[in-house]
């Protein structure tokens, strides 16, 4: 047993009880602030009488992450650089009964992991985050950090740092952290108090500890002993209440210490769990969208009749137009109806990045046979709802195939010799039904009547199952109007 492991009275024995056996002495350099943070943290845990078995320590990469990992005797999750808060968030959601604590450095939390820090603060997720701010990348030998003061020469700012440092505590407070405090390793009693308050706080709690890196930062600023740092912290520290009375110039070079924010706000994990409890309660009324709608109720049967003159093989259809015409919806309903009829069916769609206005297609292939082509390039039935789509796809109509088009929107080339069926679908939707949005159903009804690709009743059931609640009747009327138009 090393001399350090001898049990002692008071706080030391409290620390000892909370330290993983067999690992001391720690690997920190002589005089490093990491040991002070560990001691103060252990004391806070001890004074709160927290059960370390109900705590999990999550850390990133860097000297400060080694403070609890592996030394603190609890579950410890030592993660990748910058991601400790994200890992901890997953743990927090799944382990509501445990205290989840992140201890990591300034580079880890505010540099590479800065995005997670601000978003966790915004969510107000119940984590306690202790940021040990030694103003440098210590473990890697003293490179400049987002917290390094201006002009300090580091190994990567040999001519002096030309960037201003982050005030991370203020950042977290502004982002929504509900308990935010800053102290230094000189203020050990205040630190213990702040740790206790943070651990007891419900919501995102954050304690910045300005701490000495005697090796790497010491080298940069010419201070090698802890005592020099502590004296400096003491001289430069200023209580927040005092700081409030001073001008920006007077605050230059000072370390403001105290509690920046302490408010009660709804906590993320609790809200999420409450929502899940409500949504998953079988007794509660359903909120939000229904599950995937069922197909029609009739059992799978033999393949229904297929389009006139198209034989008994697979049928490929393409609906094409511009975004917003409901082309994909029409394809979906056709596929759904086929599926409910026991046919093999595949439906595919394509559209540009913008959901509205661009060229848009929905392809449906109906069995009976295995469907190999995911993106067919020749069609038995082509439905064109825009001039652009006519230009783009007319050549993909198979010889002998059926062409259906909106008479007002598409002008077919002269003398095309096609089996073409025109319908003023958009006009019917707008004028007869009063809603342009049901153009797709008018077209679908017309297509169903012309091609007999699926039984009318199957399509109607699919419409009822698939369109938004309350619009079934309108959509069915549109379908019927299109169907009737084929007979006229």
């Amino acid at each position: 047993m090393s001399p350090l492991e001898k049990p002692r009275e008071g706080t030391q024995s409290a620390s000892r009880r909370l330290i993983r056996p067999g690992l001391l002495p720690t690997i920190f350099c002589t005089g490093c602030g990491g040991g002070t943070v560990l001691n103060c943290f252990c004391r806070a845990v001890d004074e709160l009488a927290l059960d370390p078995r109900r705590m999990v320590m999550v850390t990133g990469i860097g000297c400060s992450s080694w403070i609890p990992s592996p030394y603190f005797l609890a579950d410890t999750l030592h993660t990748t650089h910058g991601r400790a808060i994200a890992f901890a968030s997953g743990v927090r959601v799944m382990q509501p009964a445990m205290k989840v604590v992140v201890i990591a450095g300034d580079g880890d939390l505010s540099g590479i992991g800065g995005n997670h820090l601000i978003h966790a603060a915004r969510r107000n997720i119940d984590l306690t985050v202790i940021m040990v701010n030694n103003a440098i990348y210590g473990m890697t030998g003293g490179q400049v950090a987002p917290t390094t003061p201006e002009d300090v020469p580091t190994t990567t700012t040999p001519h002096g740092n030309v960037e201003p440092p982050f005030d991370v505590a203020s950042l977290v407070a502004a982002a929504g952290g509900t308990f935010v405090a800053r102290w230094t390793t000189y203020h050990v009693f205040d630190l213990v108090k702040a740790f206790k308050a943070a651990l007891a706080h419900k919501g995102f709690s954050f304690v910045e500890v300005v701490s000495q890196c005697t090796t790497s930062y010491g080298k940069a600023v010419g201070m090698r002993r802890a005592a020099e740092f502590l004296a400096d912290y003491k001289a430069r520290s200023l209580r927040l209440s005092k700081a409030a009375t001073l001008s920006a110039e007077e605050l230059e070079g000072k370390i403001t210490v105290g509690t920046l924010r302490n408010v009660a706000k709804p906590e993320f994990r609790e809200r999420l769990h409450a929502q899940v409890a409500r949504v998953s309660d079988p007794g509660s009324a359903r909120q939000g969208p229904e599950p995937i709608p069922p197909g029609a109720v009739n059992p799978p049967g033999p393949p229904a009749g297929v389009a006139r003159g198209l034989g008994g093989e697979n049928v490929a259809l393409r609906f094409a137009g511009f975004g917003g015409q409901g082309v994909v919806k029409a394809g979906e309903i056709l596929g759904l109806a086929a599926c409910a009829e026991g046919r093999r069916a595949l439906q595919n769609q394509s559209y540009g990045s913008s959901a509205r206005g661009g060229l848009c297609t929905a392809d449906v292939t109906l069995g009976p046979d295995e469907i190999f082509e995911i993106e067919p390039d020749a069609f038995d039935v082509l439905v064109l709802l825009s001039q652009d789509s006519c230009g783009a796809f007319l050549h993909q109509l198979r010889a002998g195939g059926v062409l259906i088009y909106d008479r007002d929107l598409v002008k077919l080339p002269e003398g095309n010799g096609l089996r073409a069926h025109g319908i003023p679908a958009t006009k019917i939707a707008a004028e007869e039904l009063g809603r342009k949005v049901v153009t797709n159903m008018v077209v679908l009804g017309f297509c169903a009547a012309i091609t007999e690709v699926l039984p009318r009743a199957a399509l109607e059931r699919a419409i009822v199952a698939n369109v938004p609640k309350g619009t079934e009747e309108l959509n069915l009327r549109a379908f019927a109007a299109g169907f009737a138009h084929a007979a006229s």
């Binding site: 993983r20 690992l23 078995r53 999990v56 999550v58 990992s69 592996p70 579950d75 410890t76 999750l77 030592h78 993660t79 990748t80 910058g82 991601r83 994200a86 890992f87 968030s89 997953g90 743990v91 959601v93 799944m94 382990q95 009964a97 445990m98 995005n115 997670h116 978003h119 999420l272 769990h273 929502q275 899940v276 998953s280 079988p282 969208p289 599950p291 995937i292 069922p294 799978p300 979906e332 596929g335 759904l336 599926c339 093999r344 069916a345 595949l346 439906q347 595919n348 769609q349 559209y351 540009g352 990045s353 295995e370 469907i371 190999f372 082509e373 995911i374 993106e375 067919p376 390039d377």
Partner: protein, 382 residues
């Protein structure tokens, strides 16, 4: 009855017409998924949307994070806290996740990552399908490691292989990649739901006090956060008890070799390929994912013309089923390899087969048409 059983029992035996992406989400629900962390990306967003809607209904937690780095990290954290956890993304997000996928491999975290591949590199053709992440799935994270990756070719398989992925993640204590492609993710087909039974969920082998949980056997039992075992989990090199030890050559050597061997030694057990007409085939078409469908269509068409064409597709991509392929394709003269990339599967096949291997690569965002495979196939059979 649990909320999950209550919700999913209503789907027993049901047929639905749904997107591949949605089918994968439902597969995760049936697999017991209890945590989803994600970030929106085309063409995988429909998985997140379906999970956001359905996961709370079965008592699970959906969280949309600030980016993919956070998503995969939270997924791993949740797994250690007891979740069956999932994220879903596409190429660019998959690239961002690679470091933490390495963490999951190193810490032996069971979790599932779905990559619905789209056309790259970089932003490429964001809305168009591709299969360019085959090698990224294998080698995306740094350092020696093995991975398990599966590749569905239909909506039904998006469901089935997601179930499979969760089971393999537990069985091998490893991240498992479901390598979908935009073509399969965004098509709708009928899906037949099985009957959900709580007993079907893949068990997680848990460590007892004093038991090694980071070594001592190929796949050690897992000590979770909250089990009271003071587990120490680190992506650094660690001893079989989990404690970091980054300076010892034997400790690192033993750890990394074990991590690789637990998967590569199970190569035969992990092999899943599907084939037709290979008995007398002279030329075989070998493919995976969406591309395997027109490939099979071409082979059937060639057969109807009296030729000796054969077909094989890889259902599981990694670990690469080299020995099985060498056996099954040992007698063919030539292999054609249609894929939506510039030869990533082709390269592996060249490595394990003695016969001529010919790429039929296609990029640009449009899946192969059957004709595009049939023509060179008939040519090769001439």
């Amino acid at each position: 009855m649990s909320a999950r059983a209550a919700q999913l029992s209503t789907l027993a035996g049901a047929r639905r017409f749904m997107l591949g992406d949605e089918a994968a989400a439902f597969g995760a629900l049936f697999a017991g998924c209890s945590f989803f962390g994600g970030y929106p990306i085309t063409p995988a967003s429909e998985i997140a949307e379906a999970m956001a809607r359905e996961l709370p209904r079965v008592g699970g937690y959906y969280v949309q994070f600030e980016d993919e780095l956070a998503s995969i990290s939270a997924v791993i954290g949740a797994a250690w806290a007891g979740a069956r956890s999932l994220t879903a993304t596409s190429g660019p997000g998959f690239s961002l996740m690679q470091e933490s996928i390495g963490y999951a491999a190193m810490t032996e975290t069971p979790c599932v990552v779905i990559d619905v591949q789209r056309s790259g590199p970089c932003t490429g053709q964001a809305t168009k399908p591709a299969q360019g992440d085959l090698q990224q799935a294998r080698w995306g994270t740094h350092g020696d490691h093995e991975i398990i990756a599966l590749s569905p070719w239909s909506v039904q398989e998006c469901f089935d292989l997601t179930l499979d992925a969760f089971a393999l993640a537990e069985r091998y204590r490893s991240p498992v990649i479901l390598l979908m492609d935009g073509a399969v993710g965004h098509l709708r087909e009928p899906l037949l739901f099985p009957t959900f039974r709580e007993e079907m969920l893949a068990p997680r082998r848990r460590a007892r006090p004093g038991e090694l949980h980071f070594g001592g056997e190929p796949v050690p039992p897992m000590a979770q956060i909250g089990d009271g075992l003071d587990v120490h989990i680190t992506g650094s090199t660690h001893r079989p008890n989990g404690i970091r030890d980054v300076n010892s050559e034997p400790v690192h050597d033993e750890l990394v070799r074990r991590l690789c061997a637990k998967i590569s030694d199970a190569r035969e057990a992990l092999t899943r390929v599907e084939h037709r007409h290979l008995e007398d085939a002279r030329v075989a078409v070998v493919s995976f994912g969406a591309t395997a469908r027109p490939a099979l269509g071409a082979v059937e068409a060639a057969r109807r013309r009296g030729t000796r064409a054969g077909f094989l597709r890889l259902v599981r991509l990694w670990p690469f089923p080299g020995p099985a392929l060498a056996r099954l394709l040992g007698r063919v003269e030539k292999v054609l390899v249609p894929e939506m990339n510039l030869g990533q599967l082709n390269r592996e096949l060249e490595r394990v087969l003695d016969c001529e291997v010919v790429p039929l690569s296609k990029i640009g965002g449009v899946a192969h048409a059957q004709e595009e495979i049939l023509e060179p196939l008939l040519e090769a059979l001439r």
